[in-house]
Structure formats: C-alpha cells, structure tokens
Amino acid sequence: MEHVAVWIAAFLTLGIISFLYKDNPWYKLSEAIFVGISAGYWFVVLFWDNIYGKFWVGVFPPDVVDEAGNFVSHGVPDYALIVGAVLGVLMLARLLPGVGWISRWPLAFIVGCTSGLYLMNYFSSNIMRQVQGTIIPLFGIGYGASVYEIIGNIVIVGGTFAGLVYFFFSKEHRGAFGATAKVGIWVIMITFGASFGYTVMSRMSLLIGRIDFLFGDWLGLIK
C-alpha cells in the first residue's frame, strides 16, 4: 500500500508540473482531482468540526461520565446554538429560486460580525499601535544609538510619513508636498522590492520541498 501511495502522490505531482510544458490532459486530470478533493475535504471537515462538533454536540451534549465510565450527570445543552444552525440553513436558500432573498439574513449576520470585529482590531493594532511605534527619538545625548540606528530611525519616521503623504488624496502633489509624496513612493517601491524578494524565496522553498519529495521520498536518490 505504501508503494501505491507514494506512486499516486508522485503521479499527481508530475501531472501538475507537466503544466510547465503546456496545458495537457495529465494536468487537467490532476487539476480536476484537486478541485474535487479540496471542495470535498472542506465539506467533510466543516461538517464534523463546526456542524457536528459545535452545533450537535452543543445542543445534545453527551452525559458526563467518570473515568470508569459511570454516569455522573447529564450534559448541559446550549439551545442558543440552534439560532446559528437556522441561520446556516437559510444560507442554503440561495440555491433555491424564489426564496433566495432570505439568504441575505445569514449573510448580513456574517458581514456584521466581521465588520464589528475588524473595526476595533484593525483600528487598535494596525493604526494606533503603528502610530505609537513610529514615535521614536531620532538622535540625542541621552539616547545611546549607533549611527546605523540613527539613520534607520530617520528612515522609519520619514518613510512612514512620506508614504502616508503619497496615499493622501485630498491635496494635489505639488511643491514640498509633492516632493514628500515622491519620497514616499520610493520608500514604497523599496518595500515592494523586498516583498518581491521574499515571495521568490517562498515559492522556491515550496519547490524545494516538492523536489525533496520526488527525489528523496519517491526515488530515494537524495541521501
């Protein structure tokens, strides 16, 4: 069985890689399997974890037993979860013609939850804390920083400021304001360059992982 398994994995891996040559039936087959399997995977996982694990077990809790398996007490059901399940079923109404509008209710709930949560989370961590983190001394007698750090701090403060200027849409980019925006776009370009480098790094690592599988686990050529 183990031999079959590793061959199937290798067959599918090569199928995807064959896309590099051109779009072909082997790739299409592997892709179709991928699409079907991944949709099914999430279907099953969400059923057992969310719908069974969260809803069913919550509403019909198993009895509490001690270590020997003797009955101690009945579990406490949480009937509030039924609301969640009802909303969930309404979601599927979208598939039916005529009553599709009712799927807006659960959608509205989902959107409300994420909006409410994001509003404060992003405001505090990604705005407030970032502004606070930028308030740093540039240089000074009481501040024992090296030249390396002083230049760095100036770059962080100036760069963040100029970057914000670039994304400021209420004022035309002219004069000193325009010059600052220019610096801002330079800093942003350096940022993109770095993240480009990191993306290349990431993709290459994943490829290395697959090569390790093909030549190591499958063919046994790597020591």
Binding site: E31, R129, I141, I188
Partner: protein
C-alpha cells in the same frame, strides 16, 4: 433619512455609555495590612518577612482581578540575597489558605486573576529562605474584586475612533448634499485614454481582466466601476473589447455595464454579449484560458484591475511578451511588485479605490476616501509632533517635550 436614524442610534448608545461613566462605582479604598503585627509562626527564622503588603482592585475589568504589592524582604539583596522564592497564599471566603504563585527574588507585586467578584479574598506573602524556611507576612483584610462597567483604559481609543468615524460620516453626508469633494489626479487613470486610443489606432482589441474574486469583493467592484468609464470610450471610438471572467456574477455585472455604455453612446446595436465571457472558476484553468486569448488575439491594451493572487505574474508576463500596454491595479500588497515590474501603469493599493471613487463620483465612496484622509492627517501630525517632542525631550531633557511625548504615547496605546 435612514442614515440619520442609524447614526442617531449609534451615537445614542455611545452617549449612554459615556454618561454611565459618571455613575460608575468609585474604586474601593486600598486595604492596608497591619504590618506591625507580625504573625510569623515558623521556628528558626532566617529571612525577614515582606512588609507593607497591599491589596487593591484591578481597574476596568469584569471584577476578576486583584493587585498585590509589597516591599520585599530586607534580606532580598541583589548580591548575596538570602531569599530564594516568594510564595503567595490566598484565603478565599475564610477557607484554608492555598498556594497560588511562586515568584523569584526581587518581586514586589502580583496580579491575581480569575477571581469571582462575589467572593472575598485575603492574602499572605511568604519569604522563603534557601533552607526552605517560610516567613509569613501579615494577612490582609478581606477584599472583594470590583467590576467596572467600562474599560476606560481604552477611552482615548474610543475617542479617536469616534473622530475618524465621524469624519467619514460627515463627508459622506456633505457629498450627498452635493458638495464637491476634491480628489487628486491619479497617474494611472490619465493613461487610460491614451491606452484606449492606441488600441483604436492599431485596430486591435482591448483585454479587460477584473481579477478572480466575486462581486462581493470591493476590488472587483472598483474594477467594474472603472470598466464603466472605459466602456464609454470604447463605445465612442468603436474599439473592440474582450473580457473573460471567472465568476458568473461578474459576467452579468460586466455585461450590464458595457451595454449601458453602448446605449448612452447611441449605438446599442454595436453591443454584443460575446464581449464578456465566463471561462471557469478554477484559478489556473482561468489563467491558461486568458493566456491563450492573449497569445492568439494580441490585444493592444490589457487592463488587470481587481483582486489578483498568484496568477498576477503569469498574466503580466504574457501581456508584456505580446507587447501590449498594460494598466494594472490591485489592493493586494503581495501581488503589486509583479505588476509594477511588468506593467506600464499600476494603481497601488488605495489608488484603485480612489480611482473608482473619482470616476464614479459616488458620495459614499468619495466621502469615505475623505474620512480616511482625515485619519491619515491625524496619523501624520501625531508622528511629526511626537517625533520632534521625543527627540528634543531626549536630547536636551526638556520636561514639556517629554510630557507631550508621554501624552501621545498614552493616547495611542491600546492596553
């Protein structure tokens, strides 16, 4: 009108909370243990006990925490310290004492968490010598953790959120009342006309890719808005457009947009549903199809606007290899580098939304853009003032500057 009701609702809730501050319970006075009565009951005392053991309520919580503080044992020295550990004991509702924490030498405070606000608690802190001799402090008076209604530690956060949120609402309202809101020129947008003109001259089609997400994504919405403008010009010049999409809803929306543009231009007969076609939902399947279209039909201009993922670089590369003028834009930072390096014009992040607000002139889009600018202005001013204050305060030890800096860091802290 509805907006007004919503806003009032929202604000009144906040005002309710704000007013409850006035009625919030004053924190209970600190309970100080009588340090003179030393209840050390161990034989062979080898270290001095801790003194001035204080317990008080932890502020702004749900009544679950108490703060303990004390002066360490005089035998707890940095060099040759005799205290090996401090043990904190708790007595809940007159039951027996239980060990709740062991702290290293040098400790002088502890926060006891996970308490119940209906119970009373007393504490004892023991200094323990190397030979494990325990010396107990006095026992504190019984105390109950207090519950505070609102976490005022986050008061400033609330205030700032209110200012920026208020600005968004204010600008949306004034845009609705017909006030003109200024938005600066955006470089990529000016290239749109030129790019369409080029396609017309060359007699080759325009390819418009609206990303791979559905209509519920703001980036796709922005792409469709910009399509509206592009379509108007295409209808005027009678240029061909090809628009393969990966979502059926996007297809419907795009067809409607282009159709309207042709009707406005007075050429409804020139419009055909074939301009927009659904390909497939699968990411790489879609990419392969679009690649094929690019290579076969050699469009003169390619628009890549919307939400893109890993496919961004494949599309940008193919478009580049056929020599097309490419105008790209997305709000996904990870994909932007590929567009910038391989396309002629790129709308970076928020510029995509700004462009769509600018073109559509929708009050809600323009208004929030303005509101966000208020947020950015606050951030810029605070950074500027804060950095100057901290630098001067640091270099010349100016008290006023240090105060300014402290104030700003307090306001912008989230804990």
């Amino acid at each position: 009108m509805r907006l007004l009701i919503h806003t009032t609702l929202f604000l009144s809730v906040f005002i309710f909370i704000g007013s409850s501050r006035i009625f919030s319970v004053e924190p209970s006075p600190q309970v100080q243990a009588d340090t003179l009565v030393n209840t050390a009951d161990t034989v062979g005392v080898s270290v001095a006990p801790v003194t001035s053991l204080l317990v008080d309520d932890y502020k702004y919580d749900n009544g679950e925490q108490l703060n303990l503080s004390w002066v360490p044992s005089i035998d707890d020295q940095l060099i040759d310290g005799k205290v090996s550990v401090y043990r904190v004991y708790r007595i809940t509702n007159d039951s027996t004492r239980e060990l709740i924490a062991e702290l290293p030498p040098g400790s002088n405070s502890f926060t006891d968490k996970n308490l119940n606000r209906h119970d009373t608690y007393r504490y004892i802190v023991a200094a323990v010598s190397a030979s494990d001799d325990e010396v107990l402090s006095t026992t504190t008076e019984p105390v109950q953790p207090q519950r505070e209604w609102i976490n005022f530690r986050r008061g400033y956060l609330f205030l700032l959120a209110l200012i920026i949120g208020g600005a968004v609402i204010y600008y949306i309202q004034s845009a609705r009342r017909g006030k003109k809101l200024f938005v600066r020129k955006i470089a990529g947008l000016e290239a749109v006309d030129e790019a369409i003109g080029r396609a017309t001259e060359m007699g080759r089609p325009i390819l418009y890719i609206p990303g791979i997400l559905d209509m519920d994504d703001v980036q796709t919405l922005a792409a469709i808005t910009i399509l509206g403008r592009v379509a108007h010009q295409i209808a005027d010049y009678d240029t061909k457009i090809r628009m393969p999409v990966s979502r059926s809803l996007v297809m419907t929306a795009a067809r409607e947009t282009i159709k309207t543009a042709y009707q406005t231009a007075g050429r409804p007969d020139q419009y055909s549903d074939d301009m927009v076609s659904y390909v497939t939902d699968e990411q790489f399947g879609y990419v392969a199809a679009v690649d094929g279209i690019m290579v076969r039909e050699k469009p003169a201009t390619v628009f890549l606007l919307g939400a893109f993922f890993a496919e961004s670089l494949i599309l940008a590369e193919t478009g580049n290899s056929i020599g097309a003028i490419q105008i790209a834009g997305t709000a996904r930072p990870a994909q932007l580098p590929f567009f910038i390096a391989a396309c002629d014009f790129t709308l970076i992040g928020e510029e995509l939304f700004a462009a769509s607000a600018y073109l559509s002139g929708e009050p809600k889009a323009l208004g929030s853009l303005k509101g966000q600018d208020v947020g950015k202005a606050i951030a810029m001013i605070v950074i500027l003032v804060g950095v100057i204050a901290v630098t001067i305060g640091n270099a010349w030890d100016v008290k006023f500057m240090n105060d300014v800096k402290d104030m700003l860091t307090t306001i912008f802290s989230t804990q």
